[in-house]
Symmetry: C2
Subunit: 134 residues, 2 copies
C-alpha cells in the first residue's frame, strides 16, 4: 500500500513537471531579449505570409538557443505612440548575450534568412538586457 | 506512516507550486504583447534614470493587468539592423486585448505618466497578438 501511495505521489509530481515543461517556451529570460519587427514586401499576400511563417517556425523549432519564441501580428490598437505598421513581430529571449551570438550563427538561422529574406523589405531589431535591481 | 508519506508528497507538490509561481512574472502570455521603447531627454543623467526606474517599477508592481514585466537597457549588439538608440525597453504581456485596454486606464499607469513623462523625449509602442497556429 505504501508503494502505491509513493507511486501516486510520484505520478502527480511528474504530471506537474510535464505541465511546467510545456510552459517553458513562454518564459521570458530577463538575461537577454531579442525583439524583431519584419515588414514584408507583400503583407497582404497569403502565399508570402504562409511561406514566411513556415520558415520562421521551422527555424525556431530547430534553434538550440532561442527561448520564449513569440510570433505576433499587429494588435490593432491605434494610438499616436503605437507603430502598427509592421507585418510580423518576434520576441525571443536568451540565457546570455553569448547564447544570442551563437544563435546568430546557427545553421537553422542562416537557412531561414536564405529562404525568406526576399520576402521582407525592412527588419528592425531591438536587443536588451534586463536591469539588475528589478 | 501512510499519513506521513502523504504529508511529504503534499509538501513536495506545494514546494513545486511555489517555485513555478515565482516564475509567473516572467511568463509571456501570447494573447497580447505590449513592447515600449523610451528615449530619455538625459539618458546619461543618473538622477533621471533612478527616478524613471523607480516610478516604472512602482507602477508595474501596482498594475492588476500587466504580466511579464521586463525592463531592459540596450544590449550593446551593434549590427546594421539593430536599433540600440533607446534608453529603456519594456516588455509586457496581457491575457487579452481588453486587459491591455484596462491597463491603459489604470490609476497607477496614469500616475506613472504624470510622474515621468517630463523625463522622456520619445516613446514608441508595438502591440502584437500571437499567431494562432504556432
Amino acid at each position: 500500500m505504501k508503494i502505491r501511495i509513493l507511486l501516486l505521489a510520484g505520478m502527480i509530481i511528474l504530471s506537474y513537471q510535464s505541465l511546467t515543461a510545456q510552459k517553458m517556451d513562454k518564459e521570458l529570460d530577463p538575461s537577454f531579449t531579442h525583439v524583431v519587427y519584419f515588414w514584408l514586401n507583400n503583407p497582404d499576400n497569403d502565399e508570402d505570409r504562409t511561406s514566411f511563417e513556415r520558415s520562421l517556425k521551422k527555424f525556431l523549432d530547430a534553434s538550440k538557443y532561442a527561448k520564449t519564441k513569440f510570433i505576433g501580428v499587429p494588435a490593432d490598437t491605434p494610438r499616436e505612440v503605437v507603430d502598427g505598421s509592421f507585418t510580423y513581430s518576434l520576441i525571443l529571449s536568451f540565457s546570455s548575450k553569448e547564447a544570442q551570438d551563437l544563435y546568430q550563427k546557427e545553421a537553422a538561422h542562416l537557412k531561414f534568412i536564405e529562404e525568406s529574406e526576399h520576402l521582407w523589405e525592412k527588419v528592425v531589431v531591438y536587443d536588451s538586457v534586463g536591469i539588475k535591481n528589478l
